[in-house]
């Protein structure tokens, strides 16, 4: 510095430019802050969304489990209904069967299957059986076989009747 005085300090930019630059810088800072805020909010909501998705998937799997359970319950219900109707039908069949059996004939054993009926009992005579019990049995079952054996102790014929049908309960 060869001058006898020191030069006045000068700003690189004038006052108006300073104002503009300050405004721009302030705006940049504000926008950046807002941007960061938005980014923070977005990540917050994303986290919340992923949490919700996780919960959702848990609930979904729970719903599918419940669906399965519901199906099982439905199946059980159907099965129950089926059993009930079967029982009702069986009850009706037994009642019908007992209604079919005349007073002279006594039954010792009845085995009812889906498409078969086994009856074991005593009849005073073979004709009693053939006249009173066999006709209704034959009307129900496709095939009806009977064997007789005389039981001297009781003084009656013991019969074993095996009746089969393809579609007994239909």
């Amino acid at each position: 510095m060869y001058s006898f005085t020191t030069p006045r300090k000068k700003s690189l930019i004038d006052k108006i430019t300073w104002l503009w630059l300050s405004f721009i810088v302030i705006m940049l800072v504000a926008l950046s802050a807002f941007g960061f805020f938005l980014k923070y909010q977005t990540s917050f909501y994303e986290e919340m969304l992923s949490g919700t998705k996780l919960t959702n998937s848990k609930y979904s799997s729970s719903v599918s489990n419940l669906d399965k359970e519901l199906k099982i319950v439905d199946m059980k219900k159907a099965l129950n209904n089926e059993v009930r109707s079967s029982n009702a039908l069986l009850k009706a069949s037994i009642k019908n069967l007992f209604d079919l059996v005349p007073d002279q004939i006594t039954l010792n054993e009845v085995v009812m299957k889906k498409d078969a009926l086994f009856i074991k009992g005593f009849t005073p005579t073979k004709d009693s059986y053939k006249l009173l019990l066999e006709p209704p049995l034959k009307s129900i079952f496709n095939e009806s076989k009977v064997t007789f054996s005389f039981n001297g102790r009781v003084g009656k014929y013991q019969f074993e009747s095996m009746n089969t049908i393809n579609e007994l309960l239909k």
């Binding site: 510095m1 060869y2 001058s3 006898f4 005085t5 030069p7 006045r8 000068k10 700003s11 690189l12 930019i13 004038d14």
Partner: protein, 322 residues
């Protein structure tokens, strides 16, 4: 160039160079961007006194400053309270009867020391209080600027020992150089036969006497030479060849002769014989002066027209973009 200087250089800068003389103020405006000059204008204003700038000047410069954010105002210091000594040792000022506490001294490239009185620098600050001031350059620095250009110019023949003179409107700056080294430096005001001790610095005369006692030697020297009979070629009051010189031109020759006499006679200076004078002329001096110097002082004289204000602007730019 520093990064800050590099950035500043790429912006638009305005440089104002001012030379304040007794009755006028010369202004040069140069607007630059990088190395390109965008605008140049020169103006001269009449002023009442060197100590008070006219409202016109103040308004003009302030208006220019309002136009450009980066305006640098440079003043050419042409007051008497200054000088140059051939060493950078500030303690050496004492040998030259200068009180180092009362001057601002600047070493120029380790080659020599220029100084200006604190009073003169204060005067500059006070005078430019309404405008502002960035640089105040010594005339020795300006003359050195032209000398360097001369030395670097291979087309100009120069001697080993050269007497360089810078002629500005009201002042004469003299430097005797041995190559790039200063042997002698002196500054004169040629506007009038002004006794330095009566210069109005706006302070009490007693203070001025106290502050400026160091220049008494030079003053006595000038006083002794007031009579042109002391100057070679001015014997008997009528120079040979009947070359007519105006009063100011006579002072030019008188003070230049005084400087030579001082250089040859004062033991403080390394005396060397001078054959050539190179005048850097800012004001178009009377050609008879050159003839006088050639005929009567038997010196080989060459002159070149220069612009001190351009030099001031170039020096300012170097300072700003360093």
């Amino acid at each position: 160039m520093s990064l800050f200087g590099s950035v500043k250089k790429r912006m638009t800068n305005q440089f104002l160079a001012l030379i304040v003389e007794e009755k006028r103020c010369k202004v040069k405006q140069r607007v630059v961007r990088g190395d390109d000059t965008l605008f140049v204008e020169e103006s001269t204003f009449e002023i009442e006194s060197k100590d008070k700038l006219s409202i016109e000047v103040i308004d003009y410069i302030n208006r220019l400053q309002e136009e450009y954010q980066h305006t640098y105002i440079t003043l050419f210091l042409n007051t008497l309270g200054q000088g140059a000594i051939p060493t950078c040792d500030i303690e050496a000022l004492k040998k030259f009867s200068v009180d180092k506490d009362k001057v601002k001294a600047v070493c120029v490239e380790g080659r020599y020391l220029i100084y200006g009185t604190l009073i003169d620098i204060k005067w500059a600050d006070k005078t430019f209080a309404d405008i502002g001031l960035d640089f105040v350059f010594s005339p020795f620095l300006v003359l050195d600027y032209f000398i360097k250009k001369d030395i670097d110019d291979e087309d100009i023949e120069i001697d080993n020992i050269m007497l360089y003179v810078l002629s500005t409107g009201n002042a004469l700056t003299v430097m005797i150089m041995k190559d790039r080294d200063l042997l002698f430096g002196s500054f004169f005001n040629i506007a009038k036969d002004e006794n330095l001790l009566y210069t109005d610095y706006g302070e009490s005369s007693d203070d001025i006497f106290a502050e400026l006692d160091f220049v008494e030697d030079d003053e006595l020297l000038i006083e002794n030479l007031t009579d042109l009979d002391d100057v070679p070629g001015f014997e008997n009051g009528e120079p040979e060849g009947k070359l007519e010189l105006a009063e100011q031109d006579e002072r030019f020759v008188k003070y230049l002769s005084a400087a030579l006499k001082e250089f040859y006679s004062n033991d403080l200076y390394e005396s060397e014989f001078i054959q050539s004078v190179r005048i850097f002329d800012d004001v178009h001096i009377n050609p008879n002066i050159v003839k006088y110097l050639q005929n009567e002082l038997l010196l080989d004289v060459s002159s070149e027209n220069v612009s001190v204000r351009n030099a001031l602007i170039d020096l300012s730019r170097k300072e700003v973009f360093r």
